[in-house]
């Protein structure tokens, strides 16, 4: 069954408007599935709740800048050494974005619980002293440990309705290879009901199968494969190209105001196509500086 699909069709068919829980893969400035994220903005898909890896970046900030996100479950949205996330910060400070405050343990173990159909996950003793769970009673509760009788912190499973994840390559059946670091992308794929992969290259199956253990994802977990060479730009694609610091700084400068963010989106997202974006940012298709 051929799961290779055009970018616009993938979002039109697999990302419903108002999607309940949308997970975006990648971490910090690396492996953000930006081609998919930009297309979600182009098609104006509203996201009831957005879930990031332990550290979201442009994959979250762009959707927030477009005004599409109602709530966000995250433990971090920022641009690491480059600065704070302008749209995220503005939306939260203005009260227009509800934050489900999470910590790294919950996002990681919560996705594992989602992947495993576990009813909830009990978290290590000691995590209950932070203010995080007190700020997010919807996701965290105390439960009595049936073995020790102690009150411990528990959290809901994280099972995304749709996960948008980048992979280095995939075949037509959705068998994929994760290059470099996996972050929580593998966990998102295992936990999500629908998975859309953005890949640098669609390849024959035997290229995927060379070293199957520990680095591959089976196609039965994947519902759509979009070939988007260079599609992580301006973030990095492990094994392919580094993040584009100049472009990221440009985004941060322009998105510092609502008008600037609007202009960025109009010029580079809603007002153009992915090929248009690639031309505008001077992207040599399918490549950046090799790491």
């Amino acid at each position: 069954m051929d799961k290779v699909v055009a970018l616009d069709e993938a979002v039109a068919r697999l990302v419903p408007d108002g999607v309940g829980l949308l997970a975006v893969g990648g971490m910090h400035l690396q492996n953000n599935p930006m081609a998919l994220v930009r297309e979600v903005v182009r098609q104006n898909r509203r996201v009831a709740r957005l879930l990031t890896s332990p550290c979201g970046a442009l994959n979250a900030d762009l959707l927030i800048a477009a005004g599409l996100v109602g709530e966000i479950a995250t433990s971090y949205v920022g641009f690491e050494h480059l600065g704070l996330a302008p749209a995220f910060r503005r939306a939260v400070e203005s009260g227009s974005l509800r934050v489900l405050e999470c910590d790294e343990a919950y996002i990681t173990h919560g996705l594992t619980a989602g992947a495993g159909g576990l009813p909830f996950v009990a978290l290590p003793a000691g995590l209950e002293v932070s203010d995080v769970w007190k700020a997010n009673p919807e996701s965290y509760r105390l439960v009595e440990d049936p073995f020790t009788g102690r009150q411990v912190l528990a959290a809901r499973p994280l099972a995304p309705d749709v996960a948008l994840v980048h992979a280095a390559m995939a075949d037509a059946a959705g068998n994929a290879v994760l290059a470099g670091a996996h972050f929580v992308d593998r966990a998102m794929v295992l936990a999500a009901k629908t998975v859309v992969l953005q890949v640098e290259r669609v390849v024959p199956t035997d290229e995927v199968s060379r070293n199957p253990v520990g680095t591959t994802i089976p196609g039965f977990l994947v519902h759509g494969v979009v070939e988007a060479p260079g599609g992580c730009h301006p973030t990095a694609s492990h094994g392919q190209y580094r993040y584009d610091e100049n472009h990221l700084r440009t985004y941060l400068a322009r998105a510092a105001t609502p008008e600037g963010a609007h202009g960025y989106l109009e010029e580079l997202v809603t007002g153009t196509t992915e090929p248009g974006y690639a031309r505008a940012v001077g992207l040599r298709a399918g490549a950046g500086d090799a790491p």
Partner: protein
Amino acid sequence: MSAPGDGATATWSPAELMAVELARRLRNDDVAVMGTASALPQVACALARATHAPDLWYVAGGTCGVNPHLGPAVPSCCDEDLLRADTALPLTDVVLLEGRGDVFSVFFAGGLQIDAHGNCNLVSVGDWARPALRGPGTVGLPFLALVGRVLIYTMSHNPRTFVERVDFLGGPGFFDGPESFARSGVPGGGPVAVVTPLCTMDFDPATLRMRLQSVHPGVEVTEVVAATGFELAESGAVPVTAAPSDEELSIVRRLDSGGLLKGR
């Protein structure tokens, strides 16, 4: 550059001295883990391995490269270069191990706010529900309550960062002092040092409040007091931080051949 307010000419940057100060606090039997934007602790750990702690292990945050070869240190903890390493773990495994408490002995931390008892906050300034400043989020800082020794570092030594009490407790230190720390029953040992461009601080054993351990060459105690938004615990005569040795500095420069610390 020169250290702030330095009369003499310093031949190293504050960040370079901070890396050396952090390295001096690492032990040969440590297993250290670091998070976001971790060039400074990367260099500190690699320096320690190259000098007094050859058996020290360190895990570079997001990529989870173990003992990355730093050719050279990089600003993003998720940079693929950090997978040029002895081994690597999936992030999900590292997050599991952080919960065990007995694997990682050192956790590097920081925050938008760091308070008198070493609590850290990366979430929000002001009321969480309607913050004056929304920070990025807490990531793994709640694990500070589980780890043996916490080493805090920040490039921002000013009264906005160093506050009497954090507005949001995301990275537990000693809470409100000895009673609340004991009452919390957390398995961790709490913070042991706070390294900034101006000084190195530790915690008064009786009150668990931050105190001056040493001021960096060319920095006056009065500067530190003015830059700190709470009253530091009494620490008597404050020595001057030992300058990096030629060996330390040359190793730092080799590890940081990209000059990430040199300019800060």
